[in-house]
Amino acid sequence: MTRIDIVITILLVLCSLLLVESQHKNRRAYIELERAQQAEAKLQVQWNQLQLEQSRLTKTSLIAEAAARDLKMQGVVPARTLYLSEPAGVKP
């Protein structure tokens, strides 16, 4: 076996080991990615839940009830509203 053969063989073995190593790293990274994606999906579900919760809590009926009961507020009627006219020449 010539010297060059020995060098090439060693290189081949080294490359094979590195290939195995990088494959292993790739798989570990992929597992991490999967976990991150699962966490993202979970957060998305939570986001949807919170949006739903917000919709439930901001229902007009709940707000109207709370405003009248707790804050003693009354509905706006034109009879108790002061309407201001815009100065001439000013566009909204």
Partner: protein, 601 residues
């Protein structure tokens, strides 16, 4: 050196005997053959016939993983959520494996919210290998159940639809079944767009069950697209509240109301009573599910009068100031038509203002039946409205060739025809939009609707003025008035038909719009069988219209179009105002507003 080394390993003198060369070669040959056979077998298994091993490898390491897709949400025009799907779990058991202790059964039954006996019964069905214990279990409860690690109890991923506005908007939004497929309302109509398509991918697992490699995507998942409705939940709340209060107050069988945007044709609110909670669909009845605005037809009564009168005006047969003798009864053949209250000679304007059956019939009888039918047809009566909603009915307007004179007369004041509340509301767009009728939609639309001209703007404006008079102090519905805004509309009180005969049960209705000077919304109200003493449209339905119109004007921030002095007084009388009442300084807009019929209030 070599010799010494050999000898050092073979102290036995027998081995020093040299083998014959032939035997040595033979042994070498046999061993080579054996190796070759092994190599050939390895090549055969791994190169040429590798299916079996590949398959076995895949069985151990490859999996097809479903990529779930979520059903699209439904929102109102302002983005408030009306329907949304969240992950849930279906809990199922394999009764053969589920050998649970009594304590475990008790704990599971508590978490599932079902009686212990029912649960034990399901788990005892030995003949089955799969039994649903409960579906649509919310994720937190499902996690608690999973944490118990009960043998033979498993979970499947699914979705549960949530409706935060519940019964208020149930008839428009509809609902889905346990498979997350639309069953009613917009959920059903827009099923193809709302439904997502689950995807799938092939992955490689390690021995711990972790996904280590994505081999390929079989199908891309596709989430359902969101749907934005034209409904405004703020207006919807007011409409629903008003109808519910009226149904309770008048001990009515049912009630319904619809609010349309006169500019865009959008349905801003649609309420039905009785209703149901789409979150709790255990025991639904047909009466609860019925969307009366769209699927129920009724004889509209006087709310139908403006159409015959507008046809006569359009044909040039009468003018608003033409006089009609409305006294007594109008006899056609063996039948006679009368008014609840006697009238003398009235102008055409007053015929509508006072809602005279005799006057309307006399005007209508001057029209050729075909002309009258054509106007009904062009207003969409007798045809199912194309609003993209399941079960929208056509109502009934018979072909003009079969009309007898008495039928033409009764039809003019809304008997002998049947319409849905939505058709009626839509038909009133011609008066609100100077003679154009517009298509309706349940989806948000920023564009002004493109109308179709049915009558001249002059005729439409004349009828609008009459409707304003009808909703004024001298009309049939002064209770339709609201502070700050001019309103126009028509009452309807019709006997119900039972087995082909009119009975003393009524449908009270009111259709109108506000502000009358520049209509922003069209509101139609119907109360079925009010039975607490009152049954006239002017006393039952008109106040509901007023309440809805007032709340809608405020919600849409419409500027008042009439001075408020008279209303301030009435506000003070009713005691609704507390503290000083500022009234309204005349703005440039209100100063320009024409003096309306309310001026003489």
């Amino acid at each position: 050196m070599r010799k010494t080394r050999v000898h050092s390993f073979t102290p036995n003198p027998l081995l020093k005997v040299k083998l014959p060369a032939g035997r040595s070669r033979f042994a070498m040959f046999m061993m080579s053959c054996a190796f070759l056979a092994l190599i050939a077998r390895a090549l055969w298994l791994q190169v040429w016939s590798n299916d079996f091993l590949q398959r076995q490898g895949e069985v151990r390491f490859m999996r097809t993983v479903e990529m779930p897709a979520t059903r699209g949400g439904i929102t109102d025009r302002n983005g408030a959520i009306l329907a949304k799907s969240l992950p849930a779990r279906a809990i199922f058991a394999n009764p053969g494996d589920a050998q649970l202790e009594p304590a475990q059964v008790s704990e599971l039954s508590k978490l599932l919210g079902m009686p212990e006996r029912d649960l034990a019964k399901r788990l005892a069905s030995d003949s089955k290998t799969f039994v649903y214990l409960k579906r649509q279990v919310d994720a937190p409860e499902a996690e608690k159940i999973a944490a118990l690690k009960l043998p033979g109890i498993h979970q499947l991923r699914e979705y549960k639809r949530h409706y935060p506005d519940g019964s208020t908007i149930a008839h428009v939004v509809g609902f889905t079944n346990v498979e997350d497929a639309g069953q009613e309302g917009m959920e059903l109509v827009h099923q193809p767009g709302l439904a997502g398509h689950a995807g799938a991918r092939r992955v490689m697992l390690d021995r711990m069950g972790n996904i280590i490699e994505d081999v390929g995507t079989l199908r891309e998942p596709q989430d359902g697209s969101d749907l934005q409705l034209s409904i405004d939940t703020r207006i919807q709340y007011h409409v629903f509240d008003a109808v519910r209060d009226a149904v309770n107050q008048h001990h009515a069988v049912a009630g319904a109301a619809v609010v349309l945007d006169a500019k865009t044709g959008e349905v801003l609110a649609l309420a039905n009573l009785p209703t149901y909670d789409p979150n709790e669909r255990g025991a639904l009845s047909g009466a609860q599910l019925r969307n009366r605005v769209m699927t129920d037809t009724f004889e509209p009564g006087s709310t139908f009068k403006p159409f015959a009168i507008s046809a006569a005006l359009e044909a040039g047969i009468v003018k608003p100031s033409s006089m009609v003798n409305c006294s007594g009864k109008l006899t056609i053949g063996s039948a006679s038509i009368g008014d609840a209250h006697g009238h003398g000679t009235l102008s055409v304007e007053e015929v509508l203002q006072k809602s005279s059956n005799v006057g309307t019939a006399k005007i209508a009888l001057q029209l050729p039946p075909q002309r009258m039918w054509e106007i009904y047809n062009s207003l969409g009566f007798g045809q199912a409205p194309e609003v993209g909603f399941p079960g929208a009915v056509a109502g009934r307007v018979r072909p003009w060739k079969t009309w007898k004179p008495i039928e033409q007369a009764t039809m003019s004041y809304g008997h002998g025809v049947s319409v849905s509340l939505l058709q009626l509301a839509r038909a009133y767009t011609v008066f609100a939009r100077d003679g154009e009728i517009i298509p309706l939609t349940f989806l948000k639309s920023e564009q002004p609707a493109v109308g179709q001209r049915v009558m001249s703007a002059e005729t439409a404006r004349a009828v609008r003025h009459m409707l304003e008079l009808a909703a004024g102090p001298g009309g049939t519905a002064p209770k339709a008035q609201i502070p700050g805004f001019s309103v126009a509309g028509k009452t309807g009180t019709a006997h119900k038909l039972d087995g082909g005969r009119y009975v003393t049960r009524y449908v009270s209705s009111f259709v109108g719009f506000a502000p009358a000077s520049n209509p922003r919304v069209i509101i139609a109200v119907m109360i079925d069988e009010p039975s607490a003493g009152e049954h006239y449209g002017g006393t039952v339905a008109a106040p509901i219209f007023a309440r809805i119109a007032s709340d809608t004007m405020r919600t849409l921030r419409v500027t008042p179009d009439i001075p408020l002095r008279a209303e301030t007084d009435s506000g003070a009388k009713s005691g609704s105002g507390s503290g000083p009442v500022p009234g309204m300084p005349p703005t440039s807009k209100t100063a320009r507003a024409p003096a309306r019929s309310r001026g003489n209030a």
